[in-house]
């Protein structure tokens, strides 16, 4: 069957260049990638402790980086509480 998909221009240029270097048609490369992806075992929910630990470590490191330049003032939780209360009578 035929399927039409949209991909970013820059990605398509890279795919076209690499497939040309390897002497393969883009259709052939695409089909190969789809077949390999379908054959992959699904990632189990909650995966391994190691993977979950890495996810948490990355998230906390990113949070520290994002929060480093936060100005003084109410905490993010204060903002959240205020958001959730905004319709209540003052």
């Amino acid at each position: 069957m035929k399927a039409t998909i949209e991909i970013p221009d820059d990605l398509y240029r890279l795919v076209k260049a690499k497939s040309g270097l390897e002497g393969r048609a883009i259709r052939e490369v695409t089909e190969d990638l789809f077949r390999r992806w379908v054959a992959e075992a699904p990632v189990p929910a909650g995966a391994s402790t190691e993977a979950a630990g890495a996810w948490l470590a990355n998230w906390i490191a990113l949070a520290d980086d994002v929060m480093r330049k936060a100005p003084a003032g109410p905490t993010a939780r204060d903002h959240l509480v205020e958001d959730r209360k905004r319709l209540e009578r003052r």
Binding site: A51, A52, L56, N58, L62, A63, A70, A76, R84
Partner: protein, 140 residues
């Protein structure tokens, strides 16, 4: 071990070192990972978290990256905010007199059979939630 549904209050507290519950929230997530529990959130939660972080930091780009990282490959599972979840939220919220966003967390908790964890007093008092500290005490 059954999963946990984690309210936005715990996420933003864990993200913000200036929050008095930051250390406890990070310790909670560490314990959840150690117990190999899945983490459930209603599908709008990352938006709520990102907006609170953006308002705190005035850094929208950073807040979006943090929200996307919540959903990166890891233990977090989103619960779709479909008609079924909204029906549950409608019933839970109007029965326990919850705020709308809180009702969606209660609904996601019911839908997954998880334990709801929150720093929000109303969710603890009327929504069946436990605090991160209480969850850790019950799950050493």
């Amino acid at each position: 071990m059954p999963g946990v549904a984690v309210d936005s209050s715990v996420w933003v507290a864990a993200a913000d070192p200036a929050d008095r519950f930051c250390a406890a929230s990070r310790a909670f997530f560490t314990a959840v990972v150690r117990h190999r529990s899945s983490i459930h959130i209603p599908a709008f939660a990352h938006v709520e978290v990102a907006c609170a972080i953006a308002r705190r930091t005035r850094d929208g780009s950073g807040a979006r990256r943090l929200a996307q990282a919540m959903l990166a490959v890891g233990p977090v599972e989103e619960v779709a905010t479909d008609r079924a979840l909204l029906a549950r939220a409608l019933l839970a919220g109007t029965t326990a007199f919850l705020r709308g966003a809180d009702a969606l967390f209660v609904a996601a908790t019911q839908a997954t059979g998880a334990t709801l964890v929150s720093w929000n007093d109303e969710l603890v008092q009327r929504g069946g939630a436990v605090t991160p500290s209480d969850w850790m005490a019950a799950n050493p």
